[in-house]
Symmetry: C2
Subunit: 234 residues, 2 copies
């Protein structure tokens, strides 16, 4: 048995929105169109789905190319940033603009997910697009960059507020090479430390991609350490 | 630092084919169409890609629904099968039909990837679709099911040979709930034990999905065990 199987993963959370249940598109972008190229129910040998969609739909990530001319594409994003330890923080429901020092970032943290009042919107996944979601101010984005964050995720469809006149938050994050993960469903997850697995498609030349996002944890390390401590006692 | 970060992962392999470089489509299915809904190079505020494709393109997986009427969809596939230890075996280049007992399956193995002579085809990723690829016979598929395999991956675009008159290999695997992963690029990976992460999109009602597939290893466990053995010597 490998170490991975022996590792006492306590709980695994799929924090990806299901695709195909009416999650709203970004205003001005089309809803995905899901059709069948072949269908066993119509007498074909097999069933084959065709998917036509904008890559920033539902749970997805942004590559630099989304807001940076000549920026990096999705295929170029580093797996070592997309997979690894992450911190999940809860933002108070009163906060709708996340600025600098809005919460404490653990030392060494490079992957950060924020759970806000937005999460409640996913109780009705097919709601009409909600413009007043909580997101980062440009100053909050710069604070993340200055603190060494390489990946930031949020529980609605953008890291940036809808009514901002300039896309400064996006430009600051993507310009610094920070991966922005948007449209997470964090309802079932409590604040703490997790192991993040955030895998987009390997899209060459694309500015974004839907992704599957999984959290393992929390605190499997501490649990294991505790068990080891106990066994070492006389 | 979490246990995951402390784990001495030796090497990480992205065994996913890049999407958008001309990988051939299955005969009769369309090539993906990748366009821009918005483009900074044309004066837009940001760049937004649109993707129109059949879900069995390039590196992808099959859910039961692909060949089983009323079978399970992609969204219903278990993450605990898609993530975990796996065995990678090398099939001799002379073999073009993988039958029962074609290789040794390690005790307890539930995830299996086979590297065949197909792998060399990816040296030219935009080659014309190759019909004479190596894949499993129906008897080989039944052997995998009987041995408790839950996920099987192969290095060309189907687990089943192209000229089979009936889709028996698919029906046996998918009928037993085995996840079939197709279109892996295993060229850089040697036989051995790895930790597999194979994440499709969370597509509701879909028979397949492109997926991102990552292998970690090999043998980080053995390395760790060896180190521990050393430290325990007097």
């Amino acid at each position: 048995m490998s170490e991975a199987e022996a590792r006492p993963v306590k709980t695994r959370y799929d924090v990806t929105l299901p695709f195909g249940i009416g999650v709203p598109a970004w205003p001005g972008e089309p809803m995905p169109v899901i059709t069948r190229l072949a269908d066993m129910d119509k007498g074909d040998d097999c069933t084959v789905t065709r998917l036509d969609f904008a890559v920033h739909y539902a749970t997805h990530l942004d590559a630099p190319l989304h807001f940076v001319k000549g920026g990096g594409d999705v295929a170029g994003l580093a797996l070592d940033v997309l997979m690894g330890p992450c911190q999940l923080v809860r933002i108070d429901n009163e906060i709708d603009a996340i600025g600098p020092e809005a919460f404490e970032i653990a030392p060494g943290c490079t992957r950060l997910l924020v759970k806000t009042r937005n999460s409640a919107l996913w109780d009705d996944p097919a709601h009409a697009f909600h413009r007043d979601f909580t997101a980062f101010t440009p100053e909050g984005a710069q604070w993340l960059v200055d603190r060494g964050i390489r990946l930031v995720g949020i529980d609605y469809l953008s890291v940036q507020r809808f009514y901002d006149s300039e896309p400064a938050t996006h430009r600051i994050l993507l310009g610094a090479g920070v991966i922005a993960v948007e449209g997470l469903d964090l309802r079932a997850v409590e604040p703490g430390e997790y192991h993040l697995t955030c895998l987009p498609l390997r899209l060459v030349g694309a500015d974004g991609s839907p992704c599957r996002v999984v959290l393992d944890g929390p605190a499997s390390t501490r649990q294991k350490d505790r068990r080891q401590d106990t066994s070492e006692q006389p």
